[in-house]
Symmetry: C2
Subunit: 233 residues, 2 copies
């Protein structure tokens, strides 16, 4: 037997969204107030409020106190994607994952990196370059800097079993970060590491993560040609 509750917030969410999609209310239109909708749907204002709140965070409607709620006009498309740990990404495709650490040294980075990580002129950081393999074939080249002032314990870790990537995800939290994607032409060095032709068009991503105002790590990934990043709208 179904619940005797009149409506769930999700139903209201759907009905409001439906009214928007059916053009009952057009972009820019003022939607009836919460109290009014609550009466119309036969439920509490709280319930309508929750449904509306979710719609607002999804960018479907714009809300302002006193002014009321209106259907968003410029619905900028918000795309999202889950960036998985590389191991999962490989194993999800039924391939065997491996990695090789090419370099690992504590040194003073170049000025661009120093600036990006807000390091002092003579401060060193841990530089790690590794290749991620799928079924023994190069898949991603990783060039990483780790701020040893923020994460001093990383110097003690042996990275022959776990990749830096995985260790950091497991052990180091971060508060915010940035992820930049661009297309580059593979340099000789990158081409050799990934076993591709020099000049091939490949995706590269730069990720920087922060623990409050302290930089944690700066990673540049070079993907093999043809790699796609999928986002949902």
């Amino acid at each position: 037997m179904p619940s005797n509750r009149t409506h769930t917030w999700q139903e209201i969410h759907e009905r409001i969204r439906g009214n928007i999609l059916n053009r009952t209310w057009n972009p820019g239109d003022l939607i009836p107030g919460e109290a009014q909708l609550a009466e119309q749907f036969g439920c509490a204002r709280t319930t309508v409020n929750r449904a509306m709140r979710e719609l607002a965070t999804a960018g479907v409607i714009d809300r302002k106190r006193k002014a009321g709620t209106r259907v968003s006009v410029q619905r900028t498309r918000r795309v999202t994607a889950e960036i998985p740990v590389i191991r999962s990404q490989v194993e999800a495709q039924g391939m065997e994952y491996n990695f090789i650490v090419q370099k690992k040294q504590l040194r003073v980075p170049n000025s661009a990196t120093k600036q990006a990580m807000r390091l002092g002129a003579q401060q060193k950081a841990l530089h790690i370059r590794s290749i991620h393999l799928a079924n023994a074939v190069p898949f991603i080249l990783e060039d990483r800097w780790v701020n040893t002032h923020t994460i001093p314990q990383i110097l003690e870790i042996d990275f022959s079993e776990t990749s830096v990537n995985e260790w950091l995800v497991e052990h180091v939290p971060f508060t915010n970060g940035e992820f930049v994607v661009e297309a580059v032409s593979s340099s000789k060095q990158v081409a050799q590491a990934l076993d591709i032709s020099c000049g091939d068009s490949i995706l590269s991503s730069d990720r920087s993560t922060w623990l409050d105002d302290k930089s944690v790590t700066l990673v540049k990934l070079y993907y093999v040609p043809g790699h796609q990043m999928v986002f949902t709208i």
Copy 2:
């Protein structure tokens, strides 16, 4: 005078997040139950619930009925970006926006496109190719298919003033979609349109949007070399 309310859900949100970041609770750890936290913070369970719900949708914690709440172990990085209307993107950089419509014809698309839009063998669709300019310099090449069965009214529109892009955003809602990014080597045709060298590495994005199970539009954008897409984590 401050409110005599004990705590806002945002404060609780922050305190819980803080406890996670400070490693008071480690990844995988079980967090005290809602009732317990409510007592500890001196507020209603509803308030704790809301804070926890937000943390859960942000991917910081995992919740399961009866099992309890634990700090997420595999914190897959969820990145998001707002993809603006191209005009805004250009004007945000203080440049003048213009566009040129190169082609516009109703015809039967190739099989890949037909499949992607779930069109019948002989069904036609509107094909529009346009160039977006920033300060009169080519910025993005757009290759678009519009499903005229879903959006028949588009055939009546004059696209000399507004771009297809903008018209669709304004007038056509969609329920879901996909956004794929990859790096490609510019073909002769693309290079000529964007006024770049053939073979340059450029970003290309494919966006498909749907109104329930009916395809709305399929757009391929070719960006100018060096273009970056920025996401926040």
